[in-house]
Symmetry: C2
Subunit: 262 residues, 2 copies
Amino acid sequence: MRVGFLQFQPRHQDVGANLAHIERLLARVEADLLVLPELCTSGYMFRDRAELGRFAELVPAGPSCRAIGRICRERSVNVVFGMAESLGEHIFNSAVLATASGDFHVYHKAHLFLEEKDIFDPGDMPFPVFEVAGVKLGMLVCFDHYFPEAARSLALAGAQIVCQPSNLVLDSAQKTTVARAIENRVYWILANRIGSETRHGKTLHFTGHSQIVGPTGSLLARAGEETEELQVVEIDPAAALDKHATPKNDLFADRRVDLYRL
Amino acid sequence: MRVGFLQFQPRHQDVGANLAHIERLLARVEADLLVLPELCTSGYMFRDRAELGRFAELVPAGPSCRAIGRICRERSVNVVFGMAESLGEHIFNSAVLATASGDFHVYHKAHLFLEEKDIFDPGDMPFPVFEVAGVKLGMLVCFDHYFPEAARSLALAGAQIVCQPSNLVLDSAQKTTVARAIENRVYWILANRIGSETRHGKTLHFTGHSQIVGPTGSLLARAGEETEELQVVEIDPAAALDKHATPKNDLFADRRVDLYRL
């Protein structure tokens, strides 16, 4: 299975330009699964919920799903990307899985970061797992990585690959996601963005370094801090089905749920 | 608070020599808390439970607790060390906290590694936390680090410092313990041993690289792979009381226990 990430700098609040850029970057890609950054069609910073609302889209009827869904069908690729989702009265910071066969699956970010709490609704989904080409995928968004329970929930539900669209401003995720891969014996695709945004006197710098981690913690791909990069590697998703760290240690069977106090 | 680790090579099944060596190494130490490796008074490999039984000791009546307890009182230091503990019909792979005031607290390793499953009893303790000089400590032993639930249980119970006596043969713990510190905002003291043991045609090489990690994941101390080292650093345990990753993100309050499926 060929999996990868696309690391780039979305243009702030210019959905059309971002979708056109994504289409150009993926025009000749050969991959089964690609992960794009969080909120990659709208940019990250919003003054308030009203401004965010102007960029929140329906899934799958909105322009982001329509454009990326078309790329998926044309290139026979499954894409996980981040977008602001409008759902009834709610606005979620969502990861969308658009499949090569035309389906759309959604995850709503559970752990909101900083001012996201003021404008997004917190996710309401107990970490769903979706199957693509016989392989089970889970999605998390950015700050979710801090919470081992999130990845654990996905892995216990069978996820072999965790796809993590991100807009990281800290440097922790490149460390925690290696541990998440090790402790759950899963593949991990962290797709971060690059560049900066400045709004209302506040500047955020996004830290790049997207990475793909194997189920024993090895780095299979790593991007630079400031470069636009599309990286694709070949993986064996079946390796994530075997939870043995040693012949006598199945990491899931060895869990001491009788002792944990969570 | 001055905390540290002692990384050394225990002599196999020579308790007297190991206790004498520990006493020499700690003769002039100035520290509040020191962590020593797993099974550091007996060595690691045993043919079977019967052989292990000859080296399992009572807490605190056995020679290891008596000798290390005396060092603690004389040097006014609290020491966490690993030993094989005899308790009724049970034999546990234990971490013992010997305090400067003469108390002994015990943790029984919950997650047994490889052939330990054939000779030790699995731990039966829901991750107890102990207070020393106003600071709350938790103990884990070696392979426990693979399971985020173990450290999480300790941190939720108030542990500010996790002490991890280890006999590591893999290279994962130096990565996972950085994540454990970040996700729980605790200090982490990983005390590994060095050298090798060969028994019955099998050789284990222990990988050193003991380390102390701060609550944001910074490496405060790191030992070499093959060197005997005593390292002590000054820390502020109060930093582990504040669980904020950002002004709006308390890592414990932000947990979505309503969504986790563990």
